[in-house]
């Protein structure tokens, strides 16, 4: 019988409650094991040598002195990681990023690695590796990189997506376009048009745990990897492909993860650790320093965006267009494309066109960062929306409500929406007490909306019922923020047993079928689908066992509140059998009782949020203070509302840091100047107020409980909401993120100078 994922209204017992998470105790006692907390007997310490140049040809690498140093057991370069990617551009980029092949493409690019008996010896060995670089001209700015005169990173890149294909190589790897209608005609109908250009600087996900792994590669082709990752099955696939291992002979165990936010979605140093281990014949532990995390693991794109929106006097938007240029680092991604898709997704537009350009620069390879690419696009669009509302003398919320997308709207990225939550989040924001609270001098209020797709993917879950009736739930999606709690609740809900009777674990890659990683807000959505399906399969077995015990047809056995119940008058005297009672007899009714599920979780529901914030700006210094912040977001169904709130608050805080302070600063030498938490300052406790949340529940029709993803959308509106608040407080339109004190001060002075 196929699994039916359609939404059905129901009353919940476990889902919607707020139990303590199962992994919490280990985390408050210091017992939880993260990437760097694992050790193997006889392990070596790995370390990576990184390019000090933004762009340089590697003429020669001499590792002989390092190899001779006492205590050094292996030295590897790109020669030890031959190209096995077979024309797969995405995998080649990952390989090239793991270890430079021929050219170093950014400050921090790995060029060689060593494994030694201790950290001191490893560091010493790195200094003995001699590299002959031919330093090349570099480019780190997204707009500069697009100019015809810019140094070109790859002679093989000719802009994709333009006809005819250019005959000269450039840093513009790809052009993409979205939209519908007739832009020119739309602007022709507009009474007011606002057009502006924006820039946002590069930020890092800023997870507190640096990348860490222990690799053990054996001479018989088997290997083990212990690693912090958002997707251990994906890491297994990447490492197996890059090292020529058989997938099933590489066992990857995910440690607890100390934050990822998209930054741990593909491999960085893990193949290098495996190559070192293979060469040395011993386990190798490789832990990045914070400096390496900033210089060489994936930040988000820096962007340059132009937006133009026109509206009639009555407040109807007639046309909207955006051109989005996103830096990708040295290899192209779909970052501008995601910006182009998401930029106008909140609105019901007759005429819309967006164009994205993927731009290569001498900066680290861009990785996904929570709703990747959407926050920057939302910043530009929502700033212009606010400005247009002012021109129309309309309330900013009313203007958005008037133009909000709804069920049946053709989205700016193409498909027509089903039931969606943008309208309800706007109405909730409009009626929120925050909107009416008084403001003081130099204070301003801003609001903005945000969108993220959410997605599903391949998912596999096992439920095993113990002889005492307790239930173990094995999932394959990494728990990044409490999903073991929410998934245990889902299993308990389906089986009709208490939450405490379920123990969820994240299984290693040898114990469960393939799972896509925890990204795209899919963890709870996808794995709850698989868990419901697995639980229903287990219930089928439980019913069969009860039927056998009673010697009646299984069709006459129903499952109600954790018990098998014989249905029908003729069974009037049969007492129900609890899950525990059936489990106790499992050995004599056919053996262990389990439920499995392997599925593709498609049909994730799109997600919308509206944020409100109050900012005070000091006109003397340009310093800002976040006074109040409110998040309203549609969760579909909040399985564990406390952790849903946590996702809303965390995304908002990351967005606040991005909006006000965080940025990669490069010198003219192409080197990153602030590769540490002192100079790349993420928000600290005293920077923030309490973050209020309001969870809306507009059920996703493609999930039995109505669950949508909740993890990412919360980072989309803050840049724009804060920019609008700062603009309202300081009387100047801010067009460059982050709005650090010097930028705000310069804007205020510029305005005063007229």
């Amino acid at each position: 019988m196929g699994f039916d994922p359609r939404y059905l209204e129901r009353n919940f017992t476990s889902v919607g409650t707020r139990p303590v998470r199962p992994d919490g105790l280990d985390k408050v006692t210091g017992r939880a094991r993260y990437g760097a907390d694992f050790n193997m007997a006889g392990q070596l310490v790995g370390a990576i040598l990184r390019s000090p140049h933004a762009h340089a040809r590697i003429r020669n690498i001499d590792t002989s002195k390092a190899e001779k140093l006492a205590g050094v057991k292996a030295v590897v370069t790109s020669a030890d990681l031959p190209d096995l990617t077979d024309g797969n551009a995405e995998m080649y980029a990952i390989l090239d990023n793991c270890m430079a092949r021929g050219k170093a493409l950014y400050d921090g690019h790995a060029v060689a690695a060593v494994a030694a008996i201790d950290a001191r010896t490893a560091r010493k060995a790195l200094k003995l590796i001699e590299i002959d670089y031919e330093v090349l001209p570099h480019v780190t700015d997204v707009d500069e990189a697009m100019k015809p005169t810019a140094p070109v990173l790859h002679e093989t890149v000719f802009t994709e997506g333009v006809e005819p294909t250019p005959d000269k190589p450039s840093n513009v790897a790809k052009r993409t376009q979205y939209g519908h209608g007739d832009i020119e005609a739309g602007f022709g109908q507009a009474d007011f048009i606002v057009e502006r250009s924006f820039k946002t600087e590069q930020t890092h996900q800023g997870y507190i745990e640096p990348h860490a792994c222990v690799a053990n590669a054996n001479s018989d082709g088997t290997a083990d990897l212990w690693v912090c990752t958002q997707g251990h099955f994906v890491y297994r696939q990447h490492c197996a492909e890059l090292l020529g291992l058989e997938v099933s002979k590489l066992r990857v165990t995910s440690s607890e993860i100390g934050g990822g936010f998209g930054g741990k979605t593909h491999v960085w140093a893990e193949p290098v650790a495996l190559a070192l281990s293979r060469k040395a014949g011993r386990p190798v532990k490789l832990v990045m320093t914070r400096d390496e995390v900033f210089r060489a693991s994936g930040p988000t794109s820096a962007t340059s965006i132009d937006v133009k929106i026109g509206a009639r006097k009555d407040g109807t938007i007639t046309a909207a267009t955006a051109t989005l240029r996103y830096s990708c680092g040295p290899w192209y991604g779909m970052w501008a494309e995601l910006g182009a898709m998401t930029s106008f997704a909140c609105y019901n537009l007759e005429n819309v066109k967006t164009v994205g350009y993927e731009v290569l620069v001498n900066r680290p390879k861009v990785a996904a960062y929570r709703a990747p690419s959407a926050p920057m696009a939302a910043f530009a669009v929502e700033s212009v929306i606010d400005e247009l509302a002012k021109k129309l003398e309309m309330d900013a919320v009313e203007f958005r409500i008037r133009n909000a997308a709804r069920e049946g709207t053709r989205s700016s990225y193409g498909p027509v929406y089903g039931p969606i939550g943008i309208g309800p989040t706007l109405e909730a924001a409009k009626n929120h007490p925050h909107m009416k609270a008084p403001l003081g001098k130099n204070q301003g209020r801003g609001m903005a909306c945000g969108f993220w797709f959410n997605f599903g993917g391949q998912t596999c879950t096992d439920i095993n019922i113990g002889p005492d009736g307790s239930v173990s739930l094995a999932v394959g999606t990494m728990d990044v923020g409490g999903s073991r709690a929410s998934l245990s609740m889902v299993a308990a809900e389906e089986l009709g047993i208490p939450y405490e009777n379920v123990k969820a674990v994240v299984a290693d890659t040898s114990s469960l079928g393939y799972n896509d990683m925890t990204d795209g807000s899919r963890g709870t959505f996808s794995t709850s689908l698989a868990t419901i399906s697995a639980a229903r399969n287990a219930i089928q077995v439980l019913r069969e066992r009860a039927a056998q015990t009673w010697d009646i047809p299984v069709e006459d056995v129903a499952w109600e509140k954790g018990h098998a119940v014989a249905k029908g008058e003729k069974y009037g005297n049969l007492p129900s059998l609890s899950l525990k009672e059936i489990a106790a007899k499992a050995g004599n009714t056919g053996g262990p009782i389990a439920g499995h599920s392997e599925l593709v979780a498609d049909g994730a529901g799109v997600s919308f949020a509206t944020h409100i914030c109050d900012i005070e700006v000091d006109p003397q210094t340009g310093a800002t203070k976040v006074l109040r912040y409110t998040v309203v977001q549609d969760a579909g169904k909040a399985v564990h509302p406390t952790y849903v709130e946590g996702q809303y608050q965390g995304g908002a805080a990351q967005g606040i840091g991005w909006a006000l302070n965080e940025e990669y600063i490069y010198g003219t030498d192409g080197r990153l100047q602030n590769a540490g938490f002192l100079d790349y300052r993420i928000p600290v406790c005293s920077d923030l107020p309490m973050i209020d949340t309001q969870i809306l529940e507009i059920p996703n029709p493609n999930h039995p409980y109505g669950v949508r993803g909740v993890g990412e959308t919360s980072i989309v509106p803050p840049l724009a909401a804060i920019a609008n608040a700062v603009s309202n407080a300081a009387g100047v339109r801010m067009t460059h993120i982050p709005m650090s004190p010097p930028r705000i001060l310069a804007a205020i002075k510029g305005e005063q100078a007229g």
Partner: protein, 81 residues
């Protein structure tokens, strides 16, 4: 017959046509026929194409049936954080 709408970049490889009529019962057949008619589609399919059916995005379920009157929209496979 189902009507399929292509996103901008894919439309360029179909000679600028952004709407195609194709006889296909499910996503698998749709991809097969698209690749037959437009060989330039193949790299896109390899890279990953998501299919939106009445607004719901399917990334991997190639057995998903295509209802005759449904709105079918092709999108690139998405990345997330």
């Amino acid at each position: 017959m189902v009507q399929v709408t292509l996103w901008g970049s894919l439309a360029a490889t179909a000679g600028g046509k952004d709407k195609l009529e194709i006889e296909a019962k499910d996503i698998r057949e749709l991809f097969r026929k698209l690749a037959e008619q437009y060989p330039a589609f193949e790299p896109f399919i390899d890279r990953g194409i998501a299919v939106a059916i009445d607004g719901v995005i399917y990334r991997d379920t190639w057995s998903k049936e295509l209802p005759q009157d449904a709105e079918i929209f092709l999108l690139p496979r998405l990345a997330g954080g």
